[in-house]
Symmetry: D2
Subunit: 309 residues, 4 copies
């Protein structure tokens, strides 16, 4: 197996030279303005060492990647009761589809489509003040990243909120079935703000360690997640982490992962590596084009696929 830093450098170089980058998300100006030429990669390996390439210290909007961490928090708070209001199956449709909600009486298919993530956020909120809950989420991210520099981009959150009629439809719809308990505007407020968390690839790869569940894991983060829960979240990331491109990601990359519309992907090679990549251009399924390509090559060269050497 080749040396990791060499592979990272190689991939960063290859990505720099790749012209076909996909389309940057345009539904809010803050995302539309991001330069499509960015590419970043950061890896924490099993010994806790970190390897980086490209713009690994530039913060970007993690968007849906935050849903992995709110899921951890919600499971920590209410445990398996969470699954009474959110399913664990791939959705077979677009991330913001409302059709499945109607067929399944307001229960979203999984915690990573928008409806599911809103329901998870509602479970964390649980009657508290939005500001309080949001503070808790942010401190959790800073703790996992071991970096107080993680912050919320309030302009992004405000933009999302201003244009988020589709999410308001999803939330109201679930509320009509009692799947959401808190006032819709509270739940959506927290949701938009945790999606607007800004992190660098370095910070994100650090935060992902808890899912990779290294033997060398620091004693501070080990209590956050049992081994079983880490495995289960990894399973959900594999089957549902890339919207309607999840099957494709499993097929091509063979790592568990969660993407965000800001162009980031957090990928996990359980026991081996926590990986963050970022490139703003997206494919038709809304996943970072270069991010996926970089992970495909990394997984192959390092023989990290969970589906066999």
């Amino acid at each position: 197996m080749p040396e990791l830093q060499a592979v990272v450098d190689e991939i960063a170089e290859e990505m720099r030279a790749t012209p076909l980058r996909g389309e940057v998300a345009t539904y809010i100006p803050e995302l539309a303005r991001v330069d499509p030429r960015y590419f970043a990669i950061a890896i924490v390996d099993a010994r806790g060492e970190i390897f980086t390439g490209g713009d690994a210290d530039v913060p970007f909007s993690i968007q849906s990647i935050s849903k992995v961490f709110t899921l951890m928090l919600a499971l920590g708070k209410i445990g398996d009761r969470l699954w009474q209001r959110v399913g664990r199956e791939p959705s077979g449709s677009r991330f913001n589809s409302i059709v499945q909600l109607e067929a399944e009486r307001g229960i979203p298919r999984n915690p990573f489509i928008n409806a599911g993530a809103i329901a998870v956020t509602d479970a964390i909120l649980a009657g508290h003040q939005p500001r309080e809950t949001l503070g808790e989420i942010l401190r959790f991210m800073q703790f996992l990243a071991a970096d107080d520099g993680v912050y919320i981009d309030h302009k992004v959150a405000a933009s999302e909120q201003r244009t988020g009629f589709r999410n308001a439809a999803l939330a109201n719809y679930m509320r009509s079935f009692g799947v959401i308990d808190n006032p819709v505007e509270y739940t959506l407020g927290v949701y938009y703000h945790h999606c607007a968390i800004a992190m660098s690839c370095r910070q994100l790869a650090m935060a992902g360690r808890v899912l990779a569940h290294f033997d060398s894991e620091p004693s501070t983060i080990r209590p956050v997640l049992t081994a079983e829960r880490a495995r289960r979240i990894n399973a959900l990331m594999l089957t549902c982490g890339h919207y309607d491109g999840s099957g494709e990601f499993a097929y091509r990359v063979g790592l568990t992962g969660k993407s965000g519309v800001g162009g980031g992907i957090l990928a996990i090679a359980p026991g081996k590596a926590s990986i963050a990549v970022w490139s703003p251009g997206l494919d038709v399924s809304g996943n970072s084009r270069l991010g996926q390509l970089a992970l495909e090559r990394l997984s192959k060269r390092m023989e990290w696929s969970i589906f066999g050497a």
Copy 2:
């Protein structure tokens, strides 16, 4: 880690004592008649050694498990052109749903739902005589199982064919979009017969070695499947192998697998084990209830989950 045969014995014993076994499939008399008290397990490990428990030498109808092997054959014949007519995403709906076909112009979501498997069979048929193609599939199974005793249960095939109006609907529908080329009755004839292949858990675990891709793999079967193709089929089994219970299987078991309505499951721990289990009672998603439970315990006790130790 405990000794494998001890774990196998333990699980076989526990399953024997489990009263809640689900419902045996009843849509054809040949399946309805099978005794729900059967339980079998067989495992081939990385060194090629075989471990069995329960009724491991009793043949059962492998049904949809055959779809993993026809997929190998089709990829062997026409390579990645296959993906022009079959997708690689989980379906988010029942195994025999026709709704998605309408929304996606006759292209089935993946090769493991009925429509997808029929399209794969059609690709193997490719203008040949049904009898010829069927012979080829059977010989392939006998070769992989290293056992000429693998056979087709013609009574099962005839029953399926007599009542298979839903599959005829799927096939005609795909034919209307040009996704199927051969006469519908030819394609369905081959399809029903390969689903009617009867194997024991011992034979099935042997046949699964090619997907586990052991270092010790015999030189005869190695050329059947490249490492990359094995990984990719494993990925498809993980995301789509248990109908609308695929997410749940990944979440609970953490192995790749493909189930059949006869109560069998072929599961793979890549590089570590090829596992076959069988118990005829099914859950609401159509997957063997005890089979899944046995695999969940096996995966946990042997620490074989692909999602982390």
Copy 3:
């Protein structure tokens, strides 16, 4: 043909004796509390004479029947431009379904399903203050009914608003496609209030004259609606006026009509009669059970079916 008052008396008597009355709507307490024993009928004939039976002067919540009148107002204001945001086809699904909205990019199928009626209300609102618009709608109803006693039941409106998450979902969803222009809470506020208009059958039958388009029509109401527009609204009532029971109403009754979940139905025999019936018990499609039965008998006995004598 029999004498009309005799038929009215006969039907009122028969309905009184009918035990099977369906279920009163229960989703808000104000509707759930209504006594299921009420039955009322009122008819204005071509000469302008009025015939009544049962509780014809008891006001009830007209609910969706108001949508016929807001449609008139919207067409009066913006004419056929309205059809850029609302379709004219039956929906083939429940009144509050959101599935079709997703398939057809936020354009509701017709002005009588909830989504369509919300879009029509939004077109009337058109930047004005909700209070103003609501006043206009109420005065329009009072004018058509020739009775200042028509009023808005604010407790009903408040109840609807408090529990109307499903409608909020529809409205936000349409807003995400630009089908709705005004702030969602303004549009919904007006919508809930016009649905909460309370009228007696006598008042409602009077208000329906404008659709029956009698030769004897008073010169005051004639300018409200051209003959062509009246015909067209009648056509929409026929194809879409009873949610997913519209085909059944046409088949059994043969009049154009619009029902409301309060148990009222406004039915029109063009050129012959404007008819209001009310009985709070509903069938599975949400239409008044006795109301439909009474209209079926009336239409048959008076030979008023638009589909032939």
Copy 4:
């Protein structure tokens, strides 16, 4: 009111001069070859007099218009038991959609979408030989048209059968739910042949008299259909007769009607006229463009709308 022949001449002249004619159906060569310049109209009025314009004696493929007559036959044979296997509601989707069938357990929404008409044909077949049943349908049409020249175009039927995979999918799907009883190929054989009946507008308008239910109706055809059944079939034609353009036809034309993909429309002004129009060019919903336009003008000029003068 103007004189009818003058209006017919006027409309025939206007249609001749209309350049925008829509697209001729192309899915089988026999339909694709028809000259788009044809236009025909024939009307039988309440006294039984016939008025014609354009190519009123040229036979064309009546296609789905035949479904009105097979519905009469099926109701004559098994009465209201027919409605156990076919609904009476508009479908809200395309004529050959299979989605609704899945949602509603194989029961087609109405007798005029393809699935529904296949189920109706199956009810007529009822264990008889296809040839026999087809003979019965043809003789029925000849009797109603009072013309032995009505015939079946076997080349059209053969073409439909050769390419009718979508209908085979619908039929097999319904068979899987027990909605169809006869061998699928028998039912489809009869279906394709009755859709391939060829008639002129003159013959079709004559055949439609039974639905118009004139006071002057000849004593020979009166027993075919009770007044109530005629009204009910008219209601179904109004709500479901033009596929997903039924609402539009009601809105614009205000007559009951059934269209066919061959470009014909049979329209009924109950008690006043039976009208056949034909022009091969279709709109996006599959209905004759000029046919609809001609009927809209006719209905307006003769004041025949069922929705008011």
